[in-house]
Every structure is written in structure tokens, then in C-alpha cells.
């Protein structure tokens, strides 16, 4: 079945976006392979002359790089980081991520909309991370976003689909791919989001804090694929009350 994820005109077979933070560079290759990931996120930071290794040397060829703008506190800083990332010569994808709140790391939707408009105008494929709000999502669509990335729960919390009802509204009302980002802590939660109709899942901490990272990457791959198939199939109905036999009621024992 041809079921591509299309982001800004680019086609992907995988619906799992892998984060690269908080774990060894040496595990990236196995994580990408076992997750089946075709997109990996990165951050931009001050270069360090002491570290000889660069993350780009650990990412398998052919994987699309998705730099984020983490650290940005407003639209201007996000735009600045995005331009630096593009200058590093690894494509024009950017995950806009703007936080004013250091405790809960919640995204600032208004600044995110402003940054999205500027960056989309400069030819970036903009994937904004946002608090799931329908009005903000519509503004992001109008600003030129390629996808919408609502949070499931606070970043790094592994708490799962805390915003489930509001993500469902985005899935139902927004024509762009809805990629659930942040807070997904285990494969069952990724699967549930995919069953709801999410276009893809992004996870980092769930893998980085797992006991066996490559094995968890494989588990996420299967969960995302299972959820996608269930969504495409159409879920079975839920009865309001009572039961409905799965077996033919021949009744021969009583006749």
C-alpha cells in the first residue's frame, strides 16, 4: 500500500521522527536503523573545540536532518537559529521551538506563528512545535507551516497523551500532517496517537531514558506502524451498552 508521509513536498515512508538528544552519538546509527527513522532532529549550539566528534558523522546517509530552534525565546532568536542551521548545509527543514517558560518548557504559540511566517517566506520547510490550540494551528497553516507538531505532554516528561482531546481536534480540523511531539513516553501511547489519525510521532526522551535504546526504537517503529494500519483500517465501533456476540448463535444445545 502506498502510504507516504509528505512534508513540504518531500516523501517519507517512516512515520517516526527520532530525536538525537541525551544519548551517546555511538547509539545513533542503531537507533535510526531499528526505529526505521528517515528524519532525525538536531540542535544548534556553540561549537566546542574540545570535542573532536561531530554528530553529523554519526548519522547514516540519506536521513533528513531536522534542526530545531531550541534555546530561542522569541521569533527573532528562532529565525536566527534557523538561518544558522541552514548555513550548515544540511537542507532547509526546521522545527520551530520557542519557549519563554523554563520550568515547563511550554511553547509560545504567538511567537511560533511569527517565526513560522518569516521562515516559510525564506523558503524553509517549517515544522512548528506548538501547544495544541485550534486557533493557533489555523494561524500556523496560514503562516506557511508544512506540518503542525502539537505536544502530548511537557517535553521530556514521558507522560503520554495528556492533551489527547485537543490533538484530536487538530487532526480533525487541520489539513496538514499532525505530528505528535513531546511527552510520548511509551510505544502504546505512540500507537494510540496514530490510531487517532496523527500523521507521525516524534520521540526522544522515551528512547534516551529506556533500558535498551535500540530495542525501544524497534518497539516504537512497530507501535507507530500498528497504529497507522489501525487508523487506515478504521477502528471497530464501541457499544454504548450491552454486548454483541462474536460467535454464531446456533443454539443447538437448547433446541
Amino acid at each position: 500500500m502506498d502510504d507516504k508521509l509528505i512534508i513540504g513536498g518531500h516523501e517519507f515512508n517512516s512515520r517516526f521522527i527520532l530525536g538525537s538528544g541525551k544519548y551517546s552519538l555511538n547509539l545513533i546509527e542503531a537507533a535510526v536503523r531499528d526505529a526505521g527513522a528517515e528524519i532525525i532532529t538536531l540542535a544548534v549550539r556553540r561549537a566546542n573545540t574540545k570535542e573532536k566528534e561531530n554528530i553529523l558523522d554519526f548519522i547514516p546517509e540519506g536521513v533528513t536532518l531536522l534542526p530545531n530552534t531550541s534555546g530561542a525565546r522569541n521569533a527573532e532568536e528562532a529565525v536566527r537559529i534557523a538561518r544558522l542551521a541552514r548555513e550548515l548545509g544540511c537542507g532547509n527543514f526546521v522545527k520551530v521551538e520557542i519557549m519563554r517558560d523554563a520550568k515547563y518548557l511550554l511553547p509560545d504559540n504567538a511567537e511560533t506563528i511569527r517565526a513560522t511566517e518569516i521562515l516559510a517566506g525564506e523558503g524553509f520547510v517549517v515544522m512548528p512545535y506548538m501547544y495544541p490550540d485550534l486557533n493557533a494551528a489555523r494561524d500556523l497553516v496560514n503562516a506557511g507551516a508544512a506540518t503542525i507538531m502539537p505536544l502530548a505532554a511537557p517535553i521530556g516528561s514521558n507522560k503520554g497523551l495528556a492533551t489527547k482531546e485537543f490533538i484530536q481536534i487538530l487532526i480533525d480540523e487541520i489539513d496538514l500532517p499532525i505530528i505528535v511531539d513531546a511527552g510520548i513516553g511509551k510505544p502504546s501511547q505512540a500507537c494510540e496517537a496514530m490510531e487517532m489519525g496523527a500523521a507521525a510521532i516524534m520521540a526522544n526522551t522515551a528512547l534516551a531514558t529506556a533500558g535498551n535504546l535500540p530495542l525501544m526504537a524497534a518497539a516504537f517503529r512497530q507501535a507507530v506502524e500498528a497504529g497507522r494500519k489501525a487508523y487506515l483500517s478504521g477502528l471497530g465501533r464501541v457499544l454504548a451498552r450491552g454486548s454483541s456476540a462474536s460467535d454464531p448463535l446456533t443454539g443447538f444445545l437448547r433446541d
Binding site: 556553540r46 561549537a47 536532518l65
Partner: protein, 64 residues
């Protein structure tokens, strides 16, 4: 003095290339911003660092 990644360095008067030769930055993996303007790699020989410049040298790291 020039502020490079937050640290004051006595490199004013040098070109960016001359400064970079004194460091172990991997030129292929960095981008340089001078006073919030990106400097393209082809301009490293021409840009002369001035007293009071603020330079950021950045690269990719792991992130979510």
C-alpha cells in the same frame, strides 16, 4: 578584544581565517555569525575582526 562564544579574545585585526587557524574548530562543521550576521565560508579570508565584535561559532549537537 573580540567576544567569541562569550569569551573575550585579543584577536582584533586578524582575519577570520587567521583566527580559525589558531583553533581546532572543524571548518566543515561550523557556521560563524559576526554581530548577528552569518559569515559565508568564502568570506573568511576577507573578514577582519574588529575591536568589540561579537562572534558566535556554532555547530549541530544532539537534540529533540
Amino acid at each position: 578584544m573580540v567576544k567569541v562564544n562569550g569569551e573575550l579574545l585579543p584577536v582584533d585585526g586578524k582575519t577570520l581565517s587567521e583566527y580559525l587557524e589558531t583553533t581546532s574548530f572543524d571548518i566543515r562543521r561550523i557556521v560563524i555569525e559576526r554581530n548577528e550576521e552569518i559569515v559565508s565560508k568564502s568570506a573568511y579570508n576577507d573578514v577582519i575582526l574588529q575591536d568589540g565584535d561579537i562572534v558566535e561559532v556554532v555547530s549541530f549537537v544532539g537534540g529533540g
